[in-house]
Amino acid sequence: MADQAPARSNPNLAANWKSSRGKKEEEKKKVKKKDEFEFCQVCRINHEQGRRHNYFPSHANALSLLFSRFHKKVVDARFFLKNPNFIHPEHAAHNRFWCVFCDCDVDELGSTFASGNAIEHLASGDHLKNLKHFLWKYGGGMDRVDSFRITEADLAKWEKRCEVLTHETAISGEGSSGPLHRPPNDIQPDCVVAKNNDKNNINFLESSFWNDVIPLQYSTNENYQVYHEEMSPVANFGPLLLAVAPPLSSEMLSDPNTLKSNDMTAYRSNQDSHHSDSRNISSDGCISGKSAYKNKRMAGGDSGSQGFQNLTCISWGFEESKRNVHSGAPPPWFEATKDANESCQWDRVGMNSVVSRPSKSQKSSKLNPKRVGAAWAERRKIELEMEKKGEVIANSSEVEWLPNFGRVWQSGSRKESRKEFEKEKHKLPKDEAPSQTVIKMQPYVSKRMKRDAKEGSSGGHTEEH
């Protein structure tokens, strides 16, 4: 019995020892992990804060910024997912996007459709895997997975649409010699939107997404006119049509102000009816485009053309068309009209009052309410603001204004010194200037000084008192 007891206890001991050792190792690992520096891709810093780092406000801010940026890209890609579009090989090089989750650059070099590679990437399994890993590592919630990727169902739909599109273009493009770059129907809205923008001089022509776009080779007028011409039996298509299409982002198109969906659908249906009529895709788009433009000019029928009844705003006089961004006309906000000036001024004043009031009130609340002239200061501040606005024209009836002033060793209210001054003022004209100058020149001699002077003159005993 005595032998068995230790024998029994031994394995327990060993197990305990093992478990304790394991614990120690785990602790060591934890300590090690804590001490280890790791790189946070979101904040772009090396840190040793471990998992805690994800909950720091700076990290959260950076993460939300990153997500919002990437979400924009995804939204752009989703636009083309719904509206598949051909991409010109020339523009393929311009379109690419950086996937932050996969750390890779997705370019459109090999793709025939706009942001095709991007869509494929966003739908790929690798992307999903990387995305999940990223969300796990840096936080942000797993529920966001779907907002940063494209589901396979969507991808399948997109592929189908693309097939249909290629099929259509293959049929319509039979017999054409040049490369097949027929834009899908969605290009028309693009173009019309561009036109609308041009018409309204909307300044986001200068915004960022316009910058990374291919240079404008033909004025939007011409492109538009080409589309317009499509209504007529002879349609001329050229690569120039594509010059406008790819760069437009979904933001622009989804803007309800610029895109009138009813008009578009009407136009589209109309246009579809003409699709079967004729498709002469010419390789020299430039010439054909111009001829079409001329035709349009000759016809001059803006409201009369089919499908455009609701889009009459697009057609305007040639003189007017001169005064736009492309012709170097000054932007409307530079034109100094009175109304604009006034409105600007008011805006500024409004801004000032909005911005400065809280700070001022805070400042004045900190100041002692019993300070000298507190009531006056508050009143004056309001007055000054009113003067800034131009409501009150000060300086009237203030010729006589004098500040509050207390005379030497004067007792009583300070208004008395003012009254004294007024009295003197009335007297002075009678007394004439000489006496005034005498008063002016006389320096102050105190009693003591007088006494000292007297004593000094009378005798030598000046030391006492």
Binding site: S364, L367, N368, K370, R371, V372, G373, A374, W376, A377, R380, K381, L384, N395, E398, V399, W401, L402, P403, N404, F405, G406, R407, V408, W409, R414, F421, E424, K425, L428, I439, K440, M441, Q442, P443, Y444, S446
Partner: protein
């Protein structure tokens, strides 16, 4: 030296500077820029203008201009340079042991003396006092 600070030659200018200086001490030096002691004072004022800029504005008033005469009379300015202090358009008196407590007559010994005077006036004004006490000696005396 007067070019370093704003010089006022019109009553309206003086009015407006008094009325536009809010919650700050306004230091008005009455004198003429050709006077020797005025020059000395202007030097001190211009050097310390930046130091006190958070709680004081400094301006020079040219007593030779006719438009200012009203103020010269109103403030009883008989000796130049005379420095008058205002706070929220209220005249600030200072008892510095001299006979005249309505203004500072003469230059200051040092920059710091001036800053001390302005600070004493500001502190007093913020507590609602119309008169400040400070014991420094003027150069002129």
């Amino acid at each position: 030296m007067s070019f370093l600070l704003t010089t006022l030659t019109k009553k309206r200018e003086v009015d407006s500077i008094i009325r536009e200086t809010i919650d700050k001490v306004l230091v008005l030096r009455f004198g003429r820029s050709s006077d020797a002691i005025c020059l000395q004072l202007d030097d001190i004022l211009s050097k310390s203008a930046r130091d006190v800029s958070k709680f004081a504005n400094i301006a020079l008033v040219d007593i030779d201009s006719e438009d200012i005469e009203v103020y010269v009379k109103y403030f009883d300015i008989t000796l130049i340079p005379s420095t008058v202090f205002f706070f929220n358009a209220h005249h600030m008196k200072m008892d510095s042991g001299t006979a005249d407590n309505t203004k500072w007559i003469g230059a200051f010994h040092r920059k710091q003396d001036f800053i001390d005077v302005v600070e004493a006036i500001y502190r007093g004004a913020m507590k609602g006092k119309l008169i400040a006490f400070n014991r420094i000696l003027a150069v002129a005396e």
